[in-house]
């Protein structure tokens, strides 16, 4: 008897005007699973994870988090709020707040934590992403890699059970990619459930226990990384992998 899925998408479709971004996608994710999604741009990867926390609203199908339909009014919102964290391609740190304030804002305002407790929590996670010494600075004073690690810590401060990463290293200079991927890898090893959209295939191989390839709003291929990289089944996926792994 397998554990019931923590996150479940059933026939989820999403249209932007006439453009079909997600075409009846179904997907189950259990606690502790690490999914990596790849695919060409415009294939619906980002839309998929943005529908999970309802930054985009899907038109058809259902998304369940811990058994609760995310569109079920207050209960759905609470299911997202209590369980899902997100890291964005562009970091989206709050530029007018210090690093510490970026991290404590959610815990204080949304979780009702006392300021001192929130600061302790923030420092704990800043140590985990290895930049506690930057806590008094503003985001613009940090490098891209540091900013993205702050963004990860900010999401972790809300103690999510599921982390969504939307191309977390795509906006980074090459020399800063490793420090961010290291942090995500550690998080994965610590047992965090995650869905990560990325083109970093070395990282994917190391972290993922399931690879997804998307194209035209559909999950075209879904396999454990060894099989996924060694013997992709579809021609489209084979071509994509050969293109991004060529250099």
């Amino acid at each position: 008897m397998p554990a019931p899925p923590f996150l479940s998408l059933k026939n989820v479709s999403k249209y932007f005007a006439d453009f079909c971004a997600l075409d009846a996608v179904s997907l189950d994710v259990s606690l502790g699973q690490k999914l990596v999604i790849c695919g060409p741009s415009g294939s619906g990867k980002s839309t998929l994870i943005r529908c999970v926390n309802q930054l985009e609203q899907h038109q058809h199908g259902q998304i369940y988090i811990d058994g609760v339909d995310v569109r079920d009014g207050a209960a759905g919102q609470a299911a997202i709020r209590d369980n899902v964290g997100m890291v964005f391609q562009q970091f989206n740190l709050f530029p007018h707040l210090t690093i510490l304030q970026n991290l404590t804002l959610g815990p204080i305002r949304a979780r009702g934590l006392p300021a001192a407790e929130a600061a302790d929590l923030a420092m704990h996670y800043l140590e985990r992403v290895r930049i506690p010494e930057q806590s008094a600075k503003y985001p613009s004073q940090l490098s891209g890699g540091q900013q993205q690690r702050v963004a990860i810590a900010r999401a972790l401060c809300m103690k999510p059970k599921l982390m969504l990463f939307d191309e977390p290293t795509s906006a980074l200079d090459p020399e800063m990619i490793a420090e961010v991927l290291d942090v995500i890898t550690e998080l994965a090893e610590a047992g965090m459930t995650m869905i990560c959209v990325t083109h970093e295939m070395g990282f994917a191989r190391q972290v993922a226990d399931m690879m997804l390839f998307m194209d035209h709003g559909r999950i075209v291929e879904m396999a454990p990384p060894r099989r996924f990289f060694a013997a992709p089944e579809t021609a489209r996926c084979k071509l994509f992998l050969s293109q991004i792994l060529r250099h």
């Binding site: 926390n53 930054l55 709020r81 899902v84 964290g85 997100m86 964005f88 562009q90 989206n92 740190l93 709050f94 530029p95 007018h96 707040l97 804002l105 959610g106 305002r109 949304a110 979780r111 503003y138 613009s140 963004a151 900010r154 999401a155 401060c157 809300m158």
Partner: protein, 262 residues
């Protein structure tokens, strides 16, 4: 505050160096330049008792001009924000409320609004309203439409990612606005808010028509008794010039300070 005072002192110094010599030069050159009017600075000569009395009478209006403008702008900022927020909604009804208010208020000339609020509103609402509060109300209503547009533009200029990040850490709409969006938006619209204050200081002169004893009204009254419009209105121009240059300098100082905090 120390830095601000230093800044103001610097600016005053600049005004002393540039504006005062310029006006003195004008005062000397205008009659020399074939101007048929003879200057009679005696009406505002600070070395004679009568001139002193007249000057004091004129300058005392500053208190009302500033009180009127500052009170009105505080109210108009709050009203403007409250009007701007429904304008950002994705729903039609709140958006139309915003549009109707902005379009209607912008269509009424300030002078007309001042007259209507002072003479009309008491009859309609059955209340008595002082000259000061009629002026404040008219200026605030008129300015609030512009403030609403400024706020709307400022809030819309904030990257969508900031809303998404705020949502992703579970902030509700109010907290998102209060802690994430507005602090950034206000910083961006500060120059525009400063311009509105300058505009307000100038428009407050219109409240003179309902008898508010501010700068312009006092100048008018003095002209009637002294028959020296050229000198008195020149002093009036200088009064506005000094106040507004100081305000502009203050806004620029604030802008720089906020930028430095980035």
């Amino acid at each position: 505050m120390g830095r601000f005072m230093q800044y103001v002192t610097q600016k005053l110094h600049l005004i002393w160096q540039r504006v005062v010599p310029l006006s003195v030069a004008l005062a000397v050159l205008l009659p020399l330049g074939g101007c048929s009017q003879n200057w009679g600075w005696y009406v505002v000569n600070p070395t004679t008792p009568a001139g002193q009395r007249n000057l004091k009478f004129l300058i005392d209006g500053l208190y009302y001009t500033i009180a009127l403008s500052v009170t009105a702008i505080c109210i108009s900022i709050i009203v403007g924000l409250l009007i701007a927020l429904p304008g950002l909604s994705s729903k039609r009804v709140p958006r139309s409320i915003n549009r109707v208010y902005v379009e209607m208020v912008r269509a009424v000339p300030i002078l007309v609004l001042i007259l209507w609020v002072y003479y009309g509103l008491p009859q309609v609402a059955g209340i008595s309203i002082s000259v000061f509060w009629a002026g404040v109300l008219a200026l605030a209503i008129s300015d609030s439409a512009f403030q609403a547009e400024i706020f709307r533009a400022g809030i819309q200029s904030i990257n969508r990612g900031q809303y998404e990040a705020a949502t992703s850490i579970s902030l509700n709409y109010r907290d998102t606005m209060r802690f994430v969006i507005l602090p950034q938006a206000i910083k961006r619209i500060l120059p525009a808010l400063g311009n509105q204050l300058v505009y307000m200081l100038k428009m407050s002169s219109l409240v003179s028509v309902i008898g508010m004893q501010e700068l312009t009204r006092r100048a008018n009254e003095l002209v009637v008794t002294e028959y020296r419009p050229l000198e008195i209105y020149t002093v009036l121009v200088l009064e506005y010039l000094v106040v507004i240059l100081i305000v502009s300098a203050g806004v620029r100082w604030l802008e720089r300070r906020l930028n430095a905090a980035d």
